[in-house]
């Protein structure tokens, strides 16, 4: 109450008694209502449903219905049955995230500091792929990496690839697809962070005996951390749950956890599918929590 009154002019200070202050109290809740409803319908209810589904008796089916039996064994089955796919998902997503950092950081840096009047054009080019469907873009990688494609021909000619080597249907193809699809989510937050850096700070680094590399390490990189953290999260989280890239560019040996969940759901094994989803969710949330804490970008949690 006292802080609210402090913002008012002297003449208005008498007014907020009883009725008005009551109204002001309700306004905040009213404004929160649409968001709260949205969260309830599209987050809380689905999450509760998912978690409870994961505890149903797995012997039921869509036709006969499921019994709620608090069947914790579902989780044991999920983790034991699909452990390799879980590890593979995190492995692929991690590799793709690292690749995105290695490709995205120089790109974001160039756009932020070196592009001059080409800045807007370069940003548009980063976003331009979104105008085409995700599926179509992933399918085109089949052509690019296919055995009859130019890429394979060139790599075979250069002896980088054995004469009978492939690119498509390998882990490489899946990680490439993931890297390609999630690169903009790395570049844009990084760009936003880098762009905000006052150029004089970099000059100050140079003035204080730091060479270009040291200035980058001690000034630019720490200041770009929020963007780097946001970028890695936006890349790693969806990549870990992705199944399109493994489906279109991989083989049964490169299946990720998303593929298994999708198969289980379409095959009617709701409880195990749900248990696997919850496992994935909990693992990612814990990883993110630890990562954000360690990287010092606490504002994001």
């Amino acid at each position: 109450m006292s802080t609210a009154a402090a913002h008012l002019g002297p003449g208005e200070q008498q007014a907020p008694s009883g009725d008005t202050s009551q109204k002001r109290g309700w306004t905040g809740y009213l404004l929160m209502l649409p968001g709260a409803l949205w969260l309830l319908v599209f987050f809380v209810i689905p999450t509760v449903t998912l978690v409870s589904t994961s505890l149903y008796d797995p012997s039921g089916s869509i036709l006969t219905g499921y019994q709620m039996t608090f069947h914790w064994q579902n989780y044991v089955d999920a983790v034991q049955g699909y452990g390799p796919q879980l590890w593979r998902s995190f492995g692929y997503a991690g590799t793709a995230t690292v690749a995105c950092v290695l490709l995205g950081f120089p790109l974001a840096y160039a756009i932020a500091f070196k592009s001059g009047r080409w800045k807007n054009l370069m940003l548009v080019l980063v976003i331009a792929p979104f105008f085409t469907s995700f599926l179509v873009r992933t399918l085109s990688w089949q052509l690019l990496l296919g055995d009859n494609g130019v890429t394979v021909d060139v790599l075979r000619w250069l002896h980088v690839l054995a004469p009978d080597g492939h690119l498509l249907a390998t882990p490489f193809a899946v990680v490439t697809g993931l890297t390609y699809n999630f690169l903009p989510f790395m570049v844009l937050p990084l760009y936003a962070s880098l762009e905000k850096i006052d150029h004089r700070l970099i000059e100050a680094g140079g003035d204080l005996y730091a060479g270009p590399f040291t200035t980058f390490r001690t000034v630019t990189l720490p200041l770009a951390m929020p963007g780097l953290v946001a970028g890695t999260l936006l890349t790693f989280i969806p990549a870990a749950g992705d199944y399109i890239n493994a489906e279109l560019l991989g083989t049964p040996n490169t299946r990720m956890i998303g593929n298994e969940i999708q198969d289980l759901f379409s095959g009617g094994s709701y409880p195990v599918a749900a248990a696997l989803s919850v496992t994935l969710m909990v693992t990612i949330v814990s990883l993110v929590f630890v990562y954000v804490r360690r990287s010092g970008a606490r504002d994001l949690v």
Partner: protein, 374 residues
């Protein structure tokens, strides 16, 4: 030339289609407090950045203590900068900001040095704070400490007090001067604030349009301006159009709209023909018509007071002369002088020794408008 004088030789910087610094020659003595003073866009910051190595000269050289540093990378120069709006590293604490330069030069034991430096700028208890948690004046002192701790041969200050409010600026001016005296490092200070330059610097170079208009001690510049720009930019001046009648020994006899005035030859930049006759407003006295009549005074009759502003220590009058020009007069509020009101008829008089004479081909309004910038 002694130990580590900073010498700029025909230093020139051209940006596309525009010369920021034009063939500048300048020697800054070791240990001096030197100010580059000028309006924005006069090339003073570019000059400073060329000394720091942040800008590469188009022509000319920068030598420090006899060593040519023109093409040296900034991080290899024994020169540090206090940046405009400080450029403190926002992700580091005060302590780490100050320690930055030492660490980059491979020193491991920095604690005692940093603490000593923070003590010098009176920020001992703020070592753990981030720059965003400090006030403007404190940030300014961190920036100073961060540069000074490296014991540079030359410290460059780019409008260091520009972001502070007037009272704090005054305080920091004295503080900066104290620190400079204490550490004995050459300070090169860039500013557009003439008061700031005069308070602190031993030597001021007034820059305009990429060249130095005049250089000297503050008092010397103020009393003997060499151009209309300097006379207006450094303080304020009354400049009236006049003609030199004749030279009489070490005096010049002048005619200003029918009045006979006298100026010392030593204070005249031109000795014949059309001239600007100048006098500082605080040197001029007002008298009621006919009241004061000294034979040896410069006297302009027939003025009418048009504006009076009381500013505490003094009262500032605008007096319209018979030829239409308004002259400024600052009277100290000692209580000993009569005060006037708008419409009063007055005479203006001052000591001939306070008159200066400038070239009439220069613009009488040069450097005037820039005074308001501060």
């Amino acid at each position: 030339m002694t130990g580590s004088d900073l010498v700029l030789t025909s230093l020139t910087k051209r940006f596309s289609g525009f010369t920021a610094v034009d063939d500048l020659d300048l020697t800054i003595a070791e240990g001096s407090f030197f100010a580059l003073l000028g309006p924005s866009g006069c090339g003073k910051t570019t000059t400073l950045r060329m000394v720091a190595g942040l800008e590469e000269p188009t022509e000319g050289t920068v030598t420090l203590g006899g060593e040519d540093i023109t093409r040296l990378r900034p991080y290899r120069r024994p020169v540090n900068t206090v940046f405009q709006s400080y450029a403190l590293f926002p992700h580091l604490t005060t302590f780490e900001n100050v320690a930055f330069g030492l660490r980059r030069r491979g020193l491991k034991q920095v604690k005692s040095q940093v603490e000593e430096m923070l003590e010098l700028v009176e920020l001992g208890q703020y070592a753990r704070r981030k720059p965003a948690q400090l006030s403007g004046g404190q940030q300014q002192r961190v920036a100073l400490a961060r540069a000074l701790i490296n014991r540079p041969q030359v410290l460059l200050l780019d409008e260091p007090l520009g972001a502070l409010d007037l009272k704090l600026r005054r305080q920091m001016q004295i503080e900066l001067k104290r620190i400079q005296t204490e550490v004995g490092v050459t300070f090169v200070h860039v500013t557009h604030d003439q008061e700031e330059a005069m308070t602190m610097a031993d030597t001021i170079a007034v820059m305009n349009g990429g060249v130095i208009e005049q250089m000297g001690a503050p008092l010397d510049l103020y009393e003997h301006p060499a151009s209309t720009f300097v006379s207006n930019f450094l303080g304020q001046s009354n400049l009236a159009a006049g003609t030199v009648l004749e030279r009489d020994g070490d005096r010049l006899l002048l005619d200003v709209h029918g009045s006979r005035l006298v100026a010392p030859v030593g204070r005249a930049r031109v000795h014949q023909g059309d001239v600007w006759v100048g006098v500082r407003p605080e040197k001029v006295f007002l008298g009621a018509v006919g009241e004061e009549d000294h034979d040896d005074s410069n006297l302009l009759r027939g003025g009418v007071v048009t504006d009076v502003s009381f500013v505490g220590v003094s009262t500032q009058y605008l007096v319209r002369m018979s030829w239409g020009q308004e002259l400024m007069v600052f009277e100290q509020n000692t209580g000993a002088r009569t005060s006037f009101r708008p419409g009063d008829e007055v005479d203006l008089h001052w000591l001939p020794g306070h008159t200066f004479v400038l070239d009439a081909s220069q613009d009488a309004a040069a450097g005037v408008e820039t005074v308001d910038e501060a």
